[in-house]
Amino acid sequence: MRFFLPLSVALLLWLPGGGLVAQDTTHRGVTIGLTYDPASRPGIAILPITGSAGDSIRAIIQRDFDYSDRFTIVPLDASDPSTFRGKTPGADLNYPLFARLGAAAIVQATVGDGSIHVALHDVAKGSVINVVDFPLAGRANTRDWRMSVHGVSDEVERWITGLKGIAQTRIAFVAGQRIHLIDSDGTDDEVTSVTGSAMSPSWNASGTQLAYTTFGTTSRVMVLDLRTGHSRVLHNATPSHANLTPVFSPDGSSIVYSHADDEGSDLFLVTTDDASPARRISVGRGTDNVQPSFSPDGRRLAFTSGRVGHPEVYIMDADGTNAELLTSFDFGDKNYRSDPDWSPDGRLVAFQSQFADGRFQVMTISLRDRSTKLLTSEGSNEQPSWAPDGRHLVFTSTRGGSRELWVLDTESGRLRQLSRAAGAQLPAWSSRLGSSASTNAASRQ
């Protein structure tokens, strides 16, 4: 597959003041020699970065590209950077050398005052194909600063593959009944200000808020604003019995959650402004109906229901009509399937299924033809949540001993451990976060 790579108008970027942001300054239409194919991982070399905290930035970007599972990192011997320079006049870099090393692209960056200047070279073409100045937030090695560096990685990835990366994201999860936030690369696990028995965090589309529940004798649906660190109660989400698994609708206007009382549990919808009473949308007739997950267009919901006597995954229209069984009972060895998460591209639903040894494994099912794929086998693997690229999944696994969060690339099967917080559970992957979505809501552990 050949890509039309977006070409930034490089000249513009050399205007005094620099400071141009990558978004909306590019247009498509220039074909370059880089070939991107989801099954191959083109080589990418990141030159040593000069300027303040350049080594940290290089390490972060290199790791981001590695974790994207779309590139092969070409290691460079940085002891003599002069060898990277072009020998013939006009040639910026020694492209034949990089070609021999297996690099298809080279990232060249310089740290300026509060910004980073990034140039991307196409090795086959022997020239620069894009140049952008990115702002860097805050002081070096703070969370905001790191998130802005992740933003650079994601944008450069888009220049090469046409698809934005997922480095500038975070994963919310629960450990010890507290809600944690961890960066997509596993850095900086921090505990939010939320106290009490918190469960089931889920993100709004812009990544500025988390909905969650408290459970026990007072069970509430809550919304945490990550910009202020304050939580508010959704009073119309019936404050009695158990309230579970809230999720934002993709347009952010409402929250669908499960309310369990003495007559079983059903899915309810409440508007995010909490202005009117919650409306019941599932018809469970005394069974359990929990764990709603919206389709990306907001028109349908996947959820777990015990309506046939054991938990299975169902889908229905967002108004509660046309409910149908999604996971048929004739696969897997045990009648227990739950924890659905609808993929961002709308094609798949990830879920957990119990097997004969009693353990759960993560599977996906296609909405189009109901074909399934078993993604895990080692230990017990549960609670999948999609990354915004619709390719990576975070889930809990006991494969390392204690229960931790792991990230799987569903294309290549590559796996990495994300959390180091014994007992981590209920992960929720954010959307792509702009630098502005970074927070001061959390207190350092």
Binding site: M199, A242, S258, A260, D262, D288, S338, Q383, L426
Partner: protein, 214 residues
């Protein structure tokens, strides 16, 4: 020991005697109850069938009431025995707070759970100010979130059983802790079986409990 044997022997012989009397009575009965003769079509047979049905229904209702009374009396006896053996107040309190257990992924009450609940009813009836909280729990397997709903259903099952037998609904509060509060941290069937439970906590009116009366 010997006295107990003796007492048991006597109650058996009384039982046998009673059976003989009943059997004897049965032997004589058929003559007093002639077979209904086929009546002409003018008098609809439906009527006598309907009468028979209603008699049978009344009989069944009376039997059921007797059975309920017997079960209640049994419960009272058991509750009183428990009270006597462990100190009356502690015994009564233990009866109210006795834990019940469930099968995997089920919220239906097992027979052992029903008899544990049966024992609570007389104490609850004798103490109208007594209020309780039923907390549903699950084992560690399955979906963490679904397990909260399952725990709620387990608590509700016990509440329903009690309220259907006369306990006022507003005296029984329910809550679910899902798999979050195991009593046994193990990872085997034994631990799971102990963790799949309803716990009963006295929330008010438990300082001085009345002993139930028959």
């Amino acid at each position: 020991m010997t006295r107990q044997h003796h007492a048991a022997g006597r109650s058996i012989s009384i039982g046998l005697l009673a059976t003989v009397i009943v059997l004897g009575a049965c032997h004589k009965k058929p003559e007093t109850a002639p077979e209904p003769v086929a009546t002409p079509a003018a008098t609809p047979a439906v009527d006598s069938a309907a009468i028979r049905d209603s008699i049978a229904r009344a009989q069944a209702a009376r039997d059921a009431a007797l059975a309920r009374q017997r079960a209640y009396d049994d419960s009272v006896r058991r509750a009183n025995e428990a009270a006597a053996s462990a100190g009356e107040q502690t015994g009564l309190r233990n009866t109210v707070t006795a834990v019940i257990h469930f099968d995997f992924d089920r919220s239906e009450l097992r027979d052992d759970a029903r008899s544990t609940l049966d024992a609570k009813i007389p104490v609850l009836m004798a103490n109208p100010d007594l209020t309780i909280r039923v907390a549903g729990h699950t084992d560690e397997r399955g979906s963490v979130e679904y397990n909260i709903a399952l725990g709620q259903r387990r608590a509700a099952a016990a509440k329903r059983y009690l309220t259907e037998r006369g306990v006022t609904a507003n005296r029984v509060e329910t809550v679910s802790f899902g798999e979050g509060r195991p009593v046994n941290e193990g990872h085997d069937e034994d631990a799971w079986g102990q963790n799949r439970r309803d716990e009963f906590e006295i929330t008010a009116g438990g300082s001085r409990l009345n002993r139930p009366r028959t």
